[in-house]
Symmetry: C2
Subunit: 227 residues, 2 copies
């Protein structure tokens, strides 16, 4: 019997590649998307599409109303700014407080429910160096906590958090995905994407995505509103 | 200026006492209730009532749909059993996978948004010895992870998780609450409580509550359906 894993899947470039990695390691993949009231609703459609593309065992969407908290351009009435090369070392206004902590906790609850002891998350410490919850030391501390948190773990099963992209540049992620058969045309990364998945071309997320394809020397299939 | 704290408040006996402790330590208290689709909806009303009783600075309810995950008698169509003294060492079917991990993660996100570095949670390792996420070693690992998870913490602010009830018996919690002015008549612990807050009298939660008042030698103000 194959091992089950949860894959946190936003349907963007990173999480899609992460799912491709999990599939290549012969897991039964249960994809999990979080509807947290994010302004870019099209990522939920993309997530569903990507899960089907990779024949995941199941796709689940969990609702959590982070608009009731706010505090981010993705969950409050704050405008998403264009990418600014002078601000690359700052934590951007699109940062959602404790987002990965929350999403991994929901994934942990789901994992215990279906009997999975593995979780894949596409965090990346290279392009998003400003996000505290994308760093290795955070993931390690989280894994340690997770192994004390649940019934399954207390009963002796080891819970593992897989972060196959954590040390890769965007270009390396794209090359890996292409090798594993990812069609990036069905993924959406843009913070301002419209319902058809058309990207704005100027937000941080579009900036890193464009640059990644250029650096990887791979044709970018994304439809950008602004080049 | 007073320090701000988040208090996870279900409106039950433990979390209400925990709020009383936070108030007595002169914090500005922001109470947080989680609507996770729990079968005992009256705890959400109780939580609101208790928050007002203690003049909290704000009361927030965050929705997260754990019914989409299931796996517990509180979130799926599984019956809540009567308390069984022969099963006190087992993890009961009312256990919700990773619940405290999830709730603390939501509280962490809320804390960062309002600039709080303290969280109070009424976990208790004595009566709920079977719950992995009520133990000290779990809380310690969680706190360590939290201090790596957020922007505020990375910028040098220490995040502290307060568990003032963790070593107390139910009777000791009740005595402490009475000292601090808690009116337990407005709290609801029962897993089967009706909308008026009347308790069943026979579930695990009612069992420990009844026993606690008896042991504390304090008159129990709870309205039980079955004595």
């Amino acid at each position: 019997m194959k091992k089950k894993c949860i894959v946190l899947l936003s349907g963007g470039l990173d999480s899609t590649t992460c799912l491709a990695v999990a599939k290549s390691q012969d897991y039964d993949c249960y994809t999990l998307a979080i509807d947290y009231g994010q302004r870019h609703r099209s990522e939920l459609l993309s997530s569903q599409r990507v899960s089907e593309y990779f024949n995941a065992n199941d796709h689940k969407v969990i609702n959590i109303d982070l608009r009731a908290i706010g505090g981010s351009a993705l969950t409050a009435d704050i405008e998403v700014p264009d990418h600014d090369v002078n601000k690359e070392s700052e934590i951007p206004v699109t940062y959602v407080p404790a987002r990965n902590t929350m999403f991994m906790s929901i994934a942990l609850g789901y994992a215990e429910t279906i009997g999975a002891n593995d979780m894949f998350i596409g965090v990346n410490a290279v392009d998003y160096s400003g996000y505290p919850d994308c760093r290795k030391e955070f993931i390690q501390a989280y894994e340690k906590m997770a192994n004390l948190a649940t019934k399954a773990q207390v009963e002796g099963q080891k819970f593992t958090i897989h972060t196959p992209l954590i040390d890769l540049t965007k270009a390396e992620i794209i090359k890996l995905g292409v090798e594993l058969g990812v069609d990036y045309g069905i993924t959406v990364s843009c913070y301002n994407a419209d319902e058809d998945g058309q990207a704005c071309g100027v937000c941080d997320s579009c900036y890193y995505r464009k640059q990644g394809f250029k650096d990887a020397n791979v044709k970018d299939p994304t439809r950008y509103l602004h080049d």
